[in-house]
């Protein structure tokens, strides 16, 4: 196995993803179907929240992917900056709309869950507010990609925006925490304390946790499959543009 940077070569990338992508997509579909079916029909209702708890199988995975999609974009932007691999910039471009949609799913399912639980669709809670800001960042990032014609300039500028945006996104997260104390519960699925056994706080019971993890795996695989698909599309668009340009020259 040679270095990972080999796959910065679009031809190699295309050849590899041609084989990998269907596998990932099928695995994502299987995980999502199994996880959601198990979660919706095979788990008992929560004794306090009733059947509304089941929206957790969409809410938690989408929120997780929404944040990590931005992280993927950050890493891809850094790789583009440092090593100037075009595929990397295209991955960042491809991941952004998926992340934006995931953010929207998390916001909408959160609102649907919040209405029966908290009696309100929306509160200006730190977690909710910072997600809304994240959504704005995604919109700005996508809009900047679309607005610039030269592909290299666009890749450079959006990479800078992604870096600066990350700093401000983290800052906003702490700012809104400072600004308002929240209604949203703390982390209750993945916590450091749960691993070390020091965790005594309330957490999601195992009955719900197993299908939830399957759903999370499904959403992550789904994100991967979509990002790969979109990256392949971007590469093909570049090739088409190059062909057209060559034809016009001839």
């Amino acid at each position: 196995m040679a270095s990972i940077w080999e796959y910065a070569n679009p031809v190699k990338f295309m050849r590899l993803t041609d084989r990998v992508m269907p596998v990932v997509a099928v695995a994502a579909g299987l995980c999502m179907v199994i996880g959601i079916f198990w979660g919706f029909f095979l788990t008992p209702d929560d004794f306090r929240q009733g059947s509304t708890v089941k929206i957790i199988y969409l809410h938690v995975p989408s929120a997780l992917v929404a944040i990590n999609a931005w992280f993927v974009m950050l890493v891809a932007s850094l790789v583009w900056f440092i090593r100037r691999h075009h595929v990397s910039a295209l991955v960042a471009k491809a991941a952004a709309p998926v992340g934006a949609v995931m953010t929207m799913i998390a916001l909408v399912t959160g609102a649907i869950w919040g209405e029966p639980m908290w009696g309100t669709w929306w509160v200006w809670d730190p977690r909710l507010t910072s997600f809304l800001i994240l959504f704005l960042f995604y919109l700005g990032y996508i809009a900047l990609w679309e607005a610039i014609e030269s592909p290299d300039t666009a890749a450079d500028l959006t990479a800078v925006l992604c870096l600066v945006g990350t700093v401000f996104a983290v800052l906003s997260r702490y700012a809104v925490n400072f600004w308002n104390q929240g209604l949203h519960q703390g982390a209750s699925v993945l916590r450091a304390g749960a691993v070390t056994g020091t965790d005594t706080e309330e957490k999601v019971s195992n009955v719900f946790a197993v299908p939830l993890f399957i759903c999370i795996a499904g959403f992550i695989l789904f994100f991967l499959a979509l990002t790969l698909l979109r990256t392949r599309t971007e590469i093909r668009k570049r090739r088409t543009a190059a062909l057209i340009a060559r034809e016009q020259l001839a």
Partner: protein
């Protein structure tokens, strides 16, 4: 640097209200709010600090695309980039000129508008302090946004979309200082954070803006 600063200041004073526009907008916001929420003095004095901060932010946003747009159009930005003055300094001077023509007048006008919105007496000091500390950050972040969108035709809307989320932390801490000060609570925490944001962006963002400008001028 001084010449560039003076030139930018002169341009904004002379070229059709770049200077007055922000102030007028600020005034409009402050006047329209009582019509929107009702003229009760209790309610107004409660929200006055936040409304004034928001008005200042929007007025700032309004004038952002003027920072580089004119220089880009007539080509003087290319001259500035090739001049002996480093581009980082150009960005810093542009941000300073923007602050002198919008941030500073807004800060000075805020007490008068506070009077209109029946801001409690204890609030004036903190309103001015927070605006004085926070508006430089708005100008510097805005300069970065303007540098990012300089090559785009009709980039104004895009500029607002890009800059608004970046403004969130400054707005939260600035308005928090003004609100807490008005209610007579301790302001140390948000004040320190606000000053921290301003100093950090002044130290770092001119370099990033210059980097972005170089990419755009390529």
């Amino acid at each position: 640097m001084k010449a560039l600063l003076l030139r930018d200041l002169k341009l904004s004073f002379r070229s059709g209200g770049g200077f007055g526009l922000g102030l007028a907008f600020f005034l409009i916001v402050a006047i329209l709010v009582p019509f929107g929420v009702g003229p009760e003095n209790d309610l107004l004095s409660k929200i006055a600090a936040g409304v004034l901060w928001l008005g200042a932010l929007l007025a700032c946003l309004l004038s952002l695309d003027r920072i580089f747009a004119l220089d880009w159009e007539d080509g003087s930005l290319d001259l500035l980039a090739t001049s002996p003055l480093p581009l980082e300094a150009v960005c810093a001077v542009k941000a300073l000129a923007h602050w002198l023509t919008t941030g500073l007048p807004l800060t000075l006008a805020a007490p008068i508008l506070g009077l209109l919105l029946s801001l409690p007496e204890s609030g004036y000091v903190w309103l001015i302090t927070s605006l004085l500390l926070g508006t430089p950050a708005l100008s510097v972040i805005g300069t970065f946004g303007a540098a990012l969108t300089v090559g785009i035709k009709r980039g104004g809307l895009l500029l607002s979309l890009l800059v608004l989320p970046l403004y969130v932390p400054t707005l939260i801490f600035g308005a928090e200082v003004a609100r807490r000060g008005t209610e007579g609570l301790a302001v140390n925490g948000p004040l320190a954070l606000l000053a921290g944001i301003s100093l950090a962006v002044i130290a770092i963002l001119p370099f990033v803006s210059a980097l972005v400008l170089r990419i755009n001028l390529r």
